[in-house]
Symmetry: C2
Subunit: 639 residues, 2 copies
């Protein structure tokens, strides 16, 4: 039956079958409607407006306010096509893959990378992943009529004194042309792995355009940087949302979706076609680089993302005993085409190895950025993402665990939550008398929603001015028009009023949002605590806490401690190291020894499976308060 | 403009653009119109009948008789669309890919393979390409939670005492399912190459269905056999035409076509999608075998076919100094998907190495079937195909050369020529008084045309009864209605009269056909002669001549000697060994040592490039008579 879809910019009219679920129908015509809860009807992000006609409804928990329902909104994931309809899709229901905030990399930002590069080279040796041989080969004649490949192999084998020479199968197609165009005067670009020389590219001498792309594949966001392999400088860095988000906000929802028909295929396409390749295109366009000249692709990702990147069955990751299909790819000869990347088809692929099902290559790679193994002092690495990972240790040992924080830190499952893009409220100060909020907004434009750091600030402030209690419930009888209670008695605080900023609606936070956020922060805090107490240690023994993750550098430490997200230790012991996963990818891209260091890190980390760790649940519950049930742990907060 | 295409079985109506070449227009709608001369207008095979409308004509040599022109026939390759037309495509203008004669393999036929297998194993050792490990792996638990891949690798590495274990990237997707479906009780199938163990398949223990396919890729025909790898028995053998033929009858025409737009792509699709995969499908259906259970693909082909199979630029093969892009593929990690074969995606691919541009893997593989290296006596291998290859030598040395015989041996470029299919005249006896021909016809049905062995017989008989002179010209004033001369004075002999067999037309051979055939036989004879004389030897020193090639076993040796195709030595020294290329493929498929033997053969053959060999041209010209200008070389013939 006919569906008319009214989108922000266009109108689509098409046929759908009776009993199709509306969200699938809409996605099938290429509209990336957002559904972080993977169609379970709980997140409310996929709301659309029914203009004309009727739909059937799946009897699931609904997530719409009476007001929304009165306006005609329905949840696409809970609606079944039963007759021709006209549906309007509001802008906020469409997943915006691009337009995430991209740090304009100042020289100072890049220094982080370069300093780490220098430090590492000082402490360990350096070795490039790619080497180059320049040579004028003899031109063939009737007496010297060996094949092109044999000619190249003979030279390389002799030069490097190694007979195990492999030639990329795509390069093979190019060889006859390149040799003759260049009159056999060529540069041979190769890599050496386990005693085998693999020739990756051959080009006329003088063509020195060789690049690499380092990528961090997060559950919610994807970042990539383009590197000139001649001097390892970073030409640019870009980020976007992980387009898989529309199929589920966290790894569990993605895995569940992956088991559905075409699930694996759709997830792979989303991350490769809609996220990574567009980033590569953007970088190539911005810096006038040919995709064929990208000869290394280095990626760090959590274990689930790594599985989905390769289209590997990942259902066992979420079932006890939580077994990955693979942790390292070093013995699987993965090609560019196996992933579907738009770069040189013979390019070297480096994927940071995972430690376990919930501690991935992003952490193995992150440790190098945190420099934990270079110190005798105990330090902690907290990677704040949809999946929260914690590493504890020093030069002699490393322990790690993971917790599911959910997307709250990145604005997911929060009524007015959004990613750290323009319009996001990233800092809040509430006047204790008027209860009016003062806002810092990314892009200094009108506010559009709350990003992670803004939510941390907001909850901390609500607690400070005593608008909420330790359970995150709004205190009634406060003399303010900023707090409202809906028909179910659920309170909300208006952060930005529609009329003050001329918005389509108020920007607010509800008790449900605060609950979600408390669960996220409790998961991270209790995981960190349990990791140390499993060794009989506490936070006094920690000399440094490195905070990583996209939102990391924008968090207000005081607020984070006040809400009980971070342990209450000397603020000076905290350091933000930004996207440590991307930094690690970059290191593995430019330095073979760094790649080996990351592999070694993964092999030597002790993993603790919290989901079955005795006492973790109790810790989590005690931590599900602001800041905690055990206030002795938060002396600052009690001052 | 509208084109109506009247085909034997159906009518197609479609749009074409003005100035399109008709043959391309017809091919674009999926009709495999034949054009062995690659659209140069010389072979006349692409003739179609213009029923209505007009076409423009490319000013090229035409190949149609006045009679055909009067009937409204035009050459599709020489016609340009200028207005709407109705065209009829006769059956004979469409390339029949299938319906080549397939030897019904009797037990005796298979014995050839099996005897060779036994002999080889006696003289050399044997080793399978694939090995199997059966194991009950420990099931994972929370304390033993290594990844599936790590679990498998650890076991294999320990069992085989080798850490270099590689896992097929497609197998990786299967592993989690297989392990759990089989409760970790599995068979691991692997191959070992250069110290690296590559795991090709993992399956529940007890599933012992493992197969291989051996293929010979000829310029004109393709043959394949299905092998049960448990006991190396041949389950079946099938053949078909090489679908590339429509783009050119010989390798030179193919190479020229390959340089045109989409040329390489079309040629690769033709051989893979239209020839090899259909053969594999047929074998799998006939023998109830799953494609996924085909774990080895072994192919032998001439150098050009090997290039085109992989979609590799081959233009330099035909330009002095005739350099292949590659001869061996052992150092290019080629996957099933690189070729596009329909079998297990991680299957082992074995391609017999070439010696030079015009001596391919079919010859390296053929030598093992000829057993030349097992004898102290000198022997010759003559592989009669569109490309004719000759090998001479013994246990101590091997020399080889090649000549372009053209498709005449397989019925190409002969007015009434056809491949050895049903209806082909394969033997002829002419009554010296009545000049009427007595025919042996394949399939004992009505005659349809002449195949290679029939043409050899026919020319020999025409000479014997003195209807033609040594130059192949018809002798005038013979009192017979079997010989006619056309308006250009070109004579023809009627082999089978329309009225006697109720045919659509007479079956005849013209002086032009005989010329073509003489060129083919002269090329082979002179190449053989030059190869020996280059060593100062002659045919007396030869103890055996092995004749290989599809048409081989159907040739009448006397006739072949009488026309000067084969040297005039004792008939008993001749032996037909059939498709030695396919036999060699089979050997490499079942025995790793045989594969090494073939590689070694390719590396140790001395190649002579005839096209620049002094004296070859003179030899060729002297041989361009029936049987030869130097009759002393053909004593039998002079008796």
């Amino acid at each position: 039956m006919e569906i008319e879809l009214r989108l922000p910019e266009e109108v689509k009219v098409f046929e759908a079958n009776e009993n199709d679920i509306l969200i699938n129908v809409i996605r099938n015509v290429g509209v990336h409607i957002d559904a972080p809860c993977n169609g379970s009807g709980t997140c409310g992000k996929c709301k659309v407006k029914l203009i004309e006609g009727k739909v059937g409804t799946i009897a699931n928990g609904h997530r719409l306010t009476d007001e929304q329902s009165q306006q005609g909104f329905i949840l696409a994931c809970q609606s079944i096509v039963t007759s021709p309809i006209i549906v309007e899709v509001p802008k906020e229901s469409i997943l915006e893959v691009t337009h995430i905030r991209v740090e304009k990399r100042t020289h100072k930002d890049l220094e982080k990378y370069y300093n780490l590069r220098e430090e590492f080279s000082r402490e360990h040796d350096s070795m490039k992943n790619l080497s180059i041989l320049n040579v004028q080969l003899d031109e063939p004649n009737l007496d010297d009529n060996i094949s092109d490949v044999t000619r190249i192999k003979k030279f390389v084998a002799k030069e490097l004194n190694n007979d195990h020479v492999q030639i990329g199968v795509f390069l093979l197609k190019k060889i006859p042309h390149v040799l003759r165009e260049s009159a056999f005067n060529v540069s041979i670009i190769y890599t050496e792995e386990k005693g085998i020389i693999r020739i990756i590219d051959i080009r006329p001498q003088g063509d020195t355009q060789i690049y690499g792309v380092a990528v961090d594949i997060g559950t919610t966001s994807v970042s990539a940087c383009l590197v000139d392999l001649n001097d390892d400088t970073i030409l640019g860095e870009v980020s976007c949302a992980n387009a898989q988000s529309k199929y589920g906000a966290d790894v569990i929802n993605r895995i569940v979706y992956s088991t559905k028909k075409n699930g694996l295929k759709n997830l792979k396409e989303a991350i490769v076609e809609e996220s990574i390749n567009p980033l590569i295109n953007e970088l190539c366009n911005n810096h006038k680089v040919k995709k064929e000249d990208i000869l290394i692709f280095a990626a760090s990702a959590n274990t689930t993302m790594a599985h989905l990147l390769l289209g590997i069955h990942s259902d066992d990751l979420r079932k006890e005993p939580y077994i990955p299909a693979f942790t390292s790819t070093e013995d699987v000869d993965i090609r560019v085409d196996d992933i579907g990347l738009s770069l040189n088809k013979d390019a070297l692929i480096l994927i940071s190895p995972s430690v376990a099902s919930y501690v991935g290559g992003d952490i193995s790679a992150g440790v190098i950025a945190a420099g934990m193994r270079e110190s005798d002092e105990n330090s902690i690495l907290i990677d704040l993402g949809t999946n929260g990972e914690i590493v504890f240790g020093n030069r002699d040992f490393l322990m790690t665990c993971a917790c599911s924080a959910g997307p709250a830190f990145e604005g997911g499952e929060i009524s007015c939550g959004m990613r750290a893009a323009n319009g996001a409220i990233e800092a809040v100060h509430i006047d204790p008398n008027t209860f009016v909020a003062e806002l810092d907004i990314i892009g200094s434009c009108a506010p559009y929603g709350l990003c992670g750091s803004g939510i941390i600030d907001l909850i901390s402030e609500l607690k400070r001015v005593e608008l909420i209690d330790p359970r995150g419930r709004f205190i009634k009888d406060k003399n303010t028009d900023r707090i409202h209670f809906d028909e179910y008695g659920i309170g909300r605080y208006i952060v930005a009023r529609k009329k003050d900023y001329d918005l389509s609606g108020d920007i607010y936070i509800t008790e449900v949002d605060i609950d979600n956020f408390i669960r996220a922060k409790a998961a991270v805090y209790s995981a960190t605590y349990v990791l140390l107490s499993s060794l009989g240690l506490d936070f006094d023994m920690v000399s440094e806490i490195k905070v990583a993750g996209g939102i990391g550098s924008h968090i207000n430490i005081d607020s984070a401690i006040n809400i009980g997200l971070f342990p209450d230790i000397d603020k000076d012991k905290y350091a933000f190291i930004g996207n440590s996963s991307l930094t690690g990818s970059y290191m593995s891209l430019i330095n073979k020894k760094a790649k080996e260091y990351i592999d070694d890190t993964a092999n030597n980390m002790t993993y603790i499976e919290l989901s079955v760790y005795p006492g973790y649940m109790d810790e989590f519950i005690s931590a599900s308060f602001i800041p905690h049930t055990d206030l002795v742990r938060f002396p600052t907060h009690n001052k």
